[in-house]
């Protein structure tokens, strides 16, 4: 979609990409919207997409038998949701639910995977960016694991 | 507290047979004399009433982890160095009740302890100990808060310093520039000259109070020869120190070596018994104990000596900060030789060697510093032969 390209180009995640690569990615993008309470995906679903959140808030959840849904992270404007589309068997391991009205760009992971196979350079650029996100998430998750506010801290 | 007046007047001589006069003059002026005496195989500081309570004819033999008394072949009154106690026993008491309280109609009332402190005359204060007094003065009286208990005890004491005429096995005051000669901070200073032909004290004054006492003693001016024999003894002592410590850039050496594997090596030997902190004349850490009687009606707050070597010294909710022996030994040594400088302007160590003598495993901080320096220059530390 031509109208999406300039908006996507602004996204921090896509900074530094060549115009050709940006165009390739835009070709896999669509505008989506979720109402408050709507699920983006469920644990076990095929991970064919990932999302750039433009506005709103999404909760990443695990459903635990006795407790119901436990929110382990929320993501908001400007953040990227989902990397399971990159890793076989391409399945989601969590639920994602819009907490409030959320607008996002959905990127077709299947489409992008095919393009990355053809253009290794594009694949590498995306890998670099996702690795950075994963590192940040891992560090934040580790801090959460420490339970620093818990009774022993 | 005596003013520091440089004693450049001609020293006086007091014959050893007249040493008792010093005691009598001080007692007449209302002082409680405290000095060294022999007890339980060591030379300790206690109130004395007579000159014959001094350990005349005794000396001490000190090595890493070793302290023995032995008889001298002369009758010197001060022929030894320092024992397990220091003057902090009197100025910074090991246990002190700070206040009492009682319940009173739903609230409580605190009653400060009335403090009557004797006017002490410390007889036999070594140069390193004078330096330690100055250091503790800075800790307790040099900051925004002044410790009233230390101040009260520190004021009005009369100090008779004794210049060491032999160095102890673990002494390194020369390296620390704290001795062997007392240069300031005393009222009177004695240098004992004792050999086959003569036995006398060279006396110098350091304050008007010291002059007053000297006037009351049977003394005369020292001859050139007598002065020279005193100077010679001091020079010899300075040359024969049991240990040396290279203090060059010591603060930065310790600051940049907090992760040096050498600390693990010391930790293998250290028992964290806290002896070093108990005997050290500058260690000042205390703990507070709040206690009640069984009815809960009366409460007291006590202040007691504490040591950074104990496990719960650094306890906060959840656990202690310094758990390992390595961390606790490192804390003590880094504080004594490095962070003390940033806190109080000088090092905390005066080179008295007590920590080396009274360490059950003979850890020698001069060796530990040597080991740290050596590890930096790539060499290995010399083997210590303590067991």
């Amino acid at each position: 979609m031509e109208t999406l390209e300039p908006i996507l180009a602004e996204h921090p995640f896509l900074q530094g990409l060549s115009p050709e690569h940006l165009h390739l990615i835009v070709g896999c993008a669509s505008n989506v919207r979720f109402e408050a309470g709507q699920y983006l995906f469920h644990d076990g679903d095929q991970a064919d997409k990932f999302y750039f959140i433009r506005q709103g808030k999404v909760a990443v959840e695990i459903h635990a038998a006795a407790k119901g849904a436990i929110v382990i992270q929320t993501l908001g404007e400007g953040e990227v949701l989902g990397w399971s589309w990159l890793v076989p068997p391409y399945e989601w391991h969590f639920d994602a639910r819009a907490i409030q009205l959320t607008r996002a760009f959905a990127l077709d992971g299947k489409c992008l995977r095919a393009k990355c196979e053809e253009d290794a350079r594009l694949g590498y650029e995306l890998m670099k960016r996702f690795t950075h996100i994963m590192e940040q998430r891992l560090e934040a998750t580790r801090l959460q694991l420490l339970d620093i506010y818990g009774s022993q801290s | 507290m005596p003013e520091s007046i440089p004693s450049n007047r001609t020293p006086a001589v007091l014959q050893s047979s007249k040493l008792h006069a010093l005691f009598e003059v001080l007692q007449k002026q209302g002082y409680t004399i405290v000095g060294p005496t022999r007890r339980d195989g060591a030379l300790v500081y206690e109130p004395l009433t007579h000159v014959n309570e001094l350990p005349q004819g005794w000396t001490d033999q000190q090595e890493g982890g070793t302290y023995r008394l032995a008889r001298r072949d002369d009758q010197a009154y001060f022929g030894y160095v320092v024992g397990p106690q220091s003057w902090k026993k009197f100025l910074h008491p090991p246990a002190l009740r700070l206040w009492r309280a009682k319940r009173d109609n739903g609230t409580f009332e605190i009653l400060a302890e009335p403090e009557t402190v004797p006017r002490y005359a410390f007889v036999g204060v070594r140069a390193c100990e004078l330096a330690a007094l100055t250091i503790q003065d800075q800790v307790f009286m040099g900051g925004a808060y002044v410790d009233p208990h230390y101040k009260k005890r520190r004021e009005n004491i009369f100090i008779v310093a004794v210049n060491c005429t032999q160095a102890g096995g673990n002494c390194f005051c020369a390296s620390m520039h704290t001795g062997p000669e007392a240069t300031a901070g005393f009222d009177l200073a004695l240098t004992e000259v004792c050999d086959a032909e003569q036995h006398f004290f060279l006396l110098t004054t350091g304050s008007p109070a010291g002059e007053k006492v000297l006037h009351a003693l049977p003394h005369r001016a020292a001859t050139q020869t007598e002065r020279e024999s005193g100077a010679h003894l001091l020079e010899q002592t300075s040359q024969n120190m049991g240990r040396t410590l290279d203090t060059s850039d010591l603060k930065h050496l310790l600051y940049r070596n907090t992760e040096n594997p050498h600390w693990e090596e010391v930790a293998r030997r250290c028992l964290t018994c806290a002896n070093c902190t108990m005997v050290c004349p500058t260690c000042f850490c205390t703990t507070i104990e709040d206690v009640t009687d069984l009815t809960g009606e009366h409460a007291e707050r006590w202040r007691k000596w504490d040591s950074c070597f104990t496990m719960d010294f650094s306890y906060i909710h959840g656990g202690s900060i310094r758990v390992s022996t390595k961390a606790r030994y490192r804390q003590w040594l880094t504080h004594k030789l490095a962070t003390w400088i940033d806190q109080f302007g000088t090092m905390g160590c005066v080179g008295c060697g007590r920590c080396i003598t009274w360490c059950p495993v003979g850890i020698d901080l001069t060796e530990e510093v040597r080991g740290l320096r050596a590890s930096e220059s790539g060499g290995s530390a010399p083997q210590t032969d303590s067991d």
Binding site: - | F284, T286, D306, R322
Partner: protein
């Protein structure tokens, strides 16, 4: 006997006995969460006042039980009531939790170096609070709001364990309602009913609205949280000497004599508890200091 205002360095050395607690009477004890409570105290002496600076602490004495350092959590402009918020973590705080109205509590203080509120004039101010760390920061926020026009943007980032552990809820709601204060809250974990942020407090920093080149940051919480927060702030471009943290160590006297609170070359009771991050960051990086 209430104390007069004192900075952490008195002009004249105090020789009176600073180890004598003054009795204050409990006016109110409020449970904030299941392990945290707030005490409102008044000096026993009628019409006496208590003055302090934001970031300072008192040594609080429970008769016959013991004494602990607790940060003051009230408004420095309010001198009639002394407010402390604390978690129950040991014998003394456990005993404090059982105090009733008109019970007496011994107070010594205020001690310590305060938050640099006056120094921050002209800057944006970011307060980053982790868990109980919101309590020692609250006095700074009160001071900032009392002279709001002197500062640029003022932002509060607050992270805690779960929604049930959020302190000062009604006040937080009031603060959020203001147009001149940005408040962002996050929790480490929540059930599905929570509609706020979930994630560690450091995740709030990249998007918080302040100018890193002109900001004073005040950070308070568990040590590991302060370390990571300082790192995130620096990543955003806040210089290390514009970041302030509040340190904690064992304290027995609060006035620099017992030696317990030493942290490298500093005494937390008198050189701290508030430090600029640049001053202590090398020591903070070491273990068991």
């Amino acid at each position: 006997m209430a104390r007069n205002l004192e900075t952490h360095r008195a002009a004249e050395p105090r020789v009176d006995d600073a180890m004598l607690p003054a009795p204050f009477l409990v006016q109110q004890l409020k449970l904030e969460t299941d392990d945290t409570f707030t005490l409102a105290l008044a000096p026993q002496q009628k019409n006496a006042e208590f003055e302090f600076q934001a970031g300072q602490f008192n040594m609080l004495y429970v008769y016959g039980v013991g004494e602990v350092p607790i940060s003051i959590s009230g408004d420095p402009a309010q001198h009639a009531t002394l407010i402390h918020t604390t978690r129950v973590v040991g014998t003394v705080t456990k005993a404090m939790r059982k105090l009733k109205r008109n019970d007496a509590l011994g107070v010594r203080g205020p001690y310590g170096a305060p938050w640099p509120v006056q120094n921050a004039i002209g800057n944006d101010v970011v307060l980053v609070a982790g868990g109980i760390g919101l309590a020692p920061l609250r006095p700074a926020l009160y001071q900032l709001l009392a002279q709001r026009e002197k500062f640029g943007k003022v932002v509060l980032l607050y992270g805690t364990r779960s929604p049930e552990d959020i302190l000062f809820r009604s006040e937080l709601e009031q603060w959020r309602a203001r147009f001149d204060l940005e408040v962002y809250i996050t929790v480490d974990r929540a059930l599905g009913t929570w509609r706020g942020n979930v994630g560690v407090v450091t995740t709030l920093i990249p998007k918080a609205p302040f100018d890193p080149r002109n900001t004073t940051a005040m950070v308070c919480g568990p040590e590991v949280m302060m370390r990571f927060t300082a790192l995130e702030l620096q990543k955003r471009g806040v210089p290390s000497n514009d970041i302030y943290v509040s340190m904690e160590r064992n304290m027995k006297c609060g006035i620099g004599f017992c030696g317990h609170c030493q942290f490298g070359p500093t005494f937390i009771c008198k050189d701290g508890p508030v430090f600029s991050y640049s001053r202590i960051k090398d020591w903070l990086a070491k273990w068991e200091i």
